[in-house]
């Protein structure tokens, strides 16, 4: 089995799975009908992308592995998503802040992944990019509305961004598998995206009359399987059906 490629795919797909799960929690609980539908539609896009990645990963793994096993039957330490996406829906500002900080990255990342020498990954990236450009519009739009909105919306989105900022640097952290994939022209060299990322984020925050959060240090670990305390709860929800009714299909 191509161990490094497998891990590399999970590193990409797990971000979408975990963020999709977080957004799915808002189904029927969004602050308004429109935002509820938007969040769950974005969740659906992400799950769709995840299926393409996991189907490919299952092929690489062999031994009759399935997308469902990969999605639902791993242990916490085997999920390789960044810490940002597992952070809870504390309030709508946190949901939008998390989405925005991820969407800007996701768009830059997929733009590069389209050039991957791995044709399967390139095809998934190309397909997903079209969807993610709508996600990025949606979350950027809401950052502006909340930032340049009422005193309270401004205070709350600022607080959410200040609190989530510590997870942004990990987006550009590279694991050993990442580095090997970059050397084979399969993976995206994420550190090269960092400057553009922070410039784009800062531009939108300024337009939204928001302060750029000041960071003293950054949290990381998710990409190596070491997660925040929220992850266990998220997984117990995510895995409940498959563990209670083994082999049920998606």
């Amino acid at each position: 089995m191509k161990e490094n490629l497998y891990k590399y795919i999970l590193g990409i797909a797990d971000n979408s799975l975990v963020l999709g799960q977080r957004l799915g929690e808002l189904c029927g609980h969004g602050p308004s009908l429109e935002t509820d539908i938007a969040c769950t539609n974005i969740s659906l896009d992400l799950f769709g992308q995840v299926r393409s990645y996991y189907q490919y990963a299952a092929k690489i793994k062999g031994n009759n592995a399935t997308e469902d096993q990969i999605a639902f039957l791993r242990k916490e330490r085997e999920y390789l998503n960044v810490l940002l996406v597992e952070q809870p829906n504390t309030d709508f500002a946190y949901t939008i802040g998390r989405q925005f900080l991820f969407d800007i990255y996701h768009f830059l990342f997929l733009t590069e992944l389209q050039k991957s020498h791995d044709l399967n990954l390139a095809a998934i990236a190309k397909k997903s990019l079209k969807e993610v450009s709508y996600h990025r519009r949606f979350s950027s739009d809401w950052i502006k509305r909340l930032g340049d909105g009422t005193e309270e919306s401004k205070r709350r989105i600022q607080e959410a961004l200040d609190s989530l900022w510590t997870y942004t640097d990990e987006l550009f952290h590279q694991t050993e598998a990442d580095k090997i994939m970059v050397s084979k022209n399969i993976g995206v060299d994420t550190p090269t995206l960092k400057e553009t990322y922070y410039t784009e984020v800062q531009t939108i925050l300024s337009e939204s009359t928001l302060e750029i959060p000041e960071s003293k240090w950054f949290q990381k670990g998710g990409k190596d399987g070491i997660h925040t305390e929220h992850m266990g709860y998220l997984l117990s929800d995510l895995q409940y059906m498959q563990r209670t009714y083994p082999n049920m299909e998606w």
Binding site: I37, F47, E131, Y134
Partner: protein
């Protein structure tokens, strides 16, 4: 990987044309452009379909519906889901666009107009009820991921707009 032309066997076309999109029943999957090739080898039909959106829950149903239609017509079939080239709203046929509008879904505009409408609030989407262009965006995401929600300021009709995907 770069099949941009559709290759549809003449014998299979009328069968496939009768399979409708499960979410938009007035629209055939052929008019939607999701069937990228249909080739007949002896009695085995090999059909390639491509999803409109990655998470489109209709794809599994479309696959099953094609299989059933072909089997009713006496063919065994193999359905393959392909991702490249990625589906674009350009593949919706003119007949398909008319069917959408009649059903109450405004057909996708050009990429530039789409952006003007969804980002800058320009009034270019025509109301499917009264054809007025005096319409407004209610939500960038509508009843499904591929649509945005609009409302007509003249007749008050709420309707879906099929977002441009290119």
């Amino acid at each position: 990987m770069t099949i941009t032309e559709q290759h549809i066997d003449k014998e299979l076309f009328p069968i496939l044309e009768k399979v409708s999109d499960p979410e938009i029943p007035v629209l055939s999957i052929m008019e939607m452009g999701v069937v990228r090739s249909a080739i007949l080898e002896k009695n085995m039909a090999k059909v390639q379909i491509t999803p409109t959106y990655s998470g489109c829950p209709a794809m599994d149903v479309i696959g099953d519906d094609i299989k059933k239609a072909l089997s009713d017509a006496g063919y065994t079939s193999e359905i393959e889901l392909i991702l490249a080239p990625a589906w674009t709203t350009d593949w919706i046929t003119p007949k398909g666009r008319r069917a959408l509008e009649k059903y109450g879904i405004a057909a996708p505009l050009s990429p530039k107009a789409d952006k003007d409408v969804l980002l800058h609030g320009k009034q270019m989407v025509k109301c499917t009820n009264c054809s007025s262009q005096n319409t407004r965006l209610v939500s960038q995401f509508g009843s499904t991921a591929c649509k945005a929600q609009f409302q007509c300021n003249d007749c008050q009709e709420p309707f879906d707009y099929f977002k441009c995907l290119k």
